[in-house]
Symmetry: C2
Subunit: 395 residues, 2 copies
């Protein structure tokens, strides 16, 4: 099955927002083995939408549309689609009741525009919107599938997961199983080299590597009959884990910050940190983990110019650990942009100290790339030191 | 002139990256009055690229392509375009010399693939790439304009600004002048109400408002003969400034953080901050301003649970000001996610204290929305307090 993702919205063509829906849907379709061949964007203009829709239905088996389902006069996606597929718009009573109930609860008055959201092309499958008022729908027509989803990502994503994924999976006699192994501390070519023989010999499970932001992900994909209870990726995963060991920090979507934060919470380990050139980025990333304030006691950002070496980093980490009364003290120090020219080699120092066994880990490394890359990379490095320390001390 | 932006790249269709090039180019075309009617994305597949190109050249006057100009076998954009417009690929000697020189300097060996980058459709305008090896080009064919640009944004953007914008501006007998006024502290409908009579009566200068992330931008656009030295937006801008006063924090692209940071640097005002529920976001945003470490002395993130009120916020701001020896002390305190249920009303307190005149500004407000929105909004609020304080005390 070949798919096209068609976004409707003038705000995309004006550059006010970026088409992140297309990225999200593309990734998820790939997970279940559907090839995406085209993305298209068109404005809230019936004539041009008609043109784009006709092209999409000609060249693609599955067309997933986002946007244009709102209650305003601009939102003409459903009308145009109904016309193209030759169906009437009919009232969906259940949806009308849902919308009416919502307005009653909020104490608002319903207008004809709101009623409009309860009309759908005859014979379609209506998809409930658990995060907004505009439902989506699926139309099967002439061997093609056309799916309409709301534009706001906060409404589109849950609808896609709850309704569209199960629908598409049920369409296929096969299931595609994807496993993502997330790696820190090894470059993409290093990972490829370590897995080269597996990649060359791949059979039932395909192996792909890709790099993002100083991290590498290995994706394993296998296809099997739906009723096959076996995990076809398990064997290859086991072999890869044997080779890459603790460089694999998570499976699936968990970020390094989520893994480190979860370990701190699960083991009730309190931490305080000092940052210089990362300017609060580590604190900021960590503070997004739900409930983290229970273990993240204090963060300090200081641009004070002192001598930079391993000793200073360890001393700083010990100071913050003692002052804050935390189990762990972490310091990321490094050269920062002082507004002067700096072409010389610049270094960062990351130190983790622990109260319990008075352990110390300290890393010195050369900073490369622009400010943003230096910071991101150093924050990941610090999170990885926390992760490996806790993992090694809790098994 | 109606435009279409056509991106070539399988990584977009796999959801590995988002099409930020389309957003960037759309915004810039709008600035000069070119309407963008379509975005398209297609993979590195000659047959499908041919199909999409034919459609684009039929429905659009200007087609701007990004991606597919690299040296690898995958990169077939130039070959496919040459075929579609019926031109031969010919060697561009200057480009070949540039590439050869680059390889000599780096001590690399040139391959045939690298030579490939020096071939262009006959009769086109070659666009130098100041940030990479793949040049772009402009082809004028059958009353249509086709422009090919490299895919990496770091190469595409400078080429677009240096070569494409002047080319497109020179094509038109008119110039479009756009002025952006950025506003904080007023909602979009409030701004619209305050400018309603101007919006209704708009003539030479069109007025549009849009909201992003708790901020509002008013865009003024006017079109005039190229040789007209007059700024047609000036009159309307003056009137809007009279009404919105210091709620306008910048013109153009400067963010609130950039404006506040620049004011701190220009006036040599040192600052230290304490954050709780924003978890380092303010420090992080501020620390991205080049050279800021000269005036940003210290940041402290503390989740300590103390009584939350205006007095505590002011006391905290005074403490950090004294401890750090800064001119300004800033505190953002507020309820944070402690992992417990919280359905009650939650408040934030932002206090700014100054050493010089012992001035105090303190704001109390109810937190709404999810964690991310609460933080973003509070950080903007804090930056705005810093901005207005410095502006009021330096004129």
């Amino acid at each position: 099955m070949n798919a096209e993702i068609l976004a409707v919205g003038t705000e995309l063509l004006m550059g006010q927002i970026v088409n992140s829906n297309a990225q999200y849907i593309s990734k998820r379709l790939q997970d279940i083995g559907v090839n995406v061949y085209f993305h298209s964007v068109v404005g809230d203009n019936p004539a041009r939408l008609r043109g784009v829709l006709n092209i999409a239905l000609q060249r693609s088996d599955l067309v997933i549309m986002t946007g244009g389902l709102g209650p305003t006069q601009d939102d003409l996606t459903k009308e145009t689609v109904a016309e193209i597929v030759g169906r009437k718009l009919v009232l969906h009573t259940e949806t009308l009741e849902d919308i009416a109930a919502l307005f009653r609860r909020a104490g608002w008055t319903m207008t004809d525009n709101n009623r409009k959201q309860a009309y759908f092309p005859e014979g379609c499958i209506v998809l409930k919107n658990s995060h907004g008022t505009a439902p989506g729908c699926i139309i099967e027509t002439d061997g093609k599938i056309l799916i309409m989803l709301p534009g706001p990502p906060s409404e589109m994503k849950p609808m896609f997961e709850q309704s569209v994924m199960p629908y598409l999976e049920q369409k296929s006699p096969h299931k595609i199983v994807s496993t993502y192994l997330n790696i820190f501390g090894l470059g993409e070519s290093a990972v490829e080299n370590m897995l080269m023989d597996l990649i060359v010999q791949q059979k039932d499970t395909t192996i792909a590597t890709y790099a993002t932001d100083g991290q590498v992900t290995v994706r394993l994909t296998s296809k099997c009959k739906k009723d096959n209870p076996e995990d076809l990726n398990a064997g290859v995963e086991k072999e890869i884990r044997k080779r890459l060991g603790d460089r694999i920090y998570s499976t699936g979507n968990s970020s390094l910050a989520e893994v480190a934060g979860k370990l701190l919470l699960e083991t009730n380990t309190t931490i305080s940190i000092v940052e210089s050139f990362t300017g609060g980025l580590l604190a900021c990333v960590l503070s997004k983990i739900p409930g983290i304030s229970r273990v993240f006691k204090q963060g300090l950002i200081s641009y004070a110019n002192r001598r930079l070496d391993k000793e200073t980093a360890i001393q700083t980490a010990q100071d913050i650990m003692k002052i804050s009364g935390s189990d762990l003290g972490l310091a990321i120090l490094g050269h920062h942009d002082s507004g002067e020219n700096h072409n010389k080699d610049e270094y960062a120092y990351i130190a983790l100290v622990t109260r319990e066994q008075n352990q110390v880990r300290c890393l010195e490394y050369k900073l490369v790339g622009d400010e943003q890359r230096r910071r991101n990379r150093s924050v990941l490095q610090a999170l990885d030191i926390v992760r490996t320390y806790i993992q090694e001390n809790t098994d």
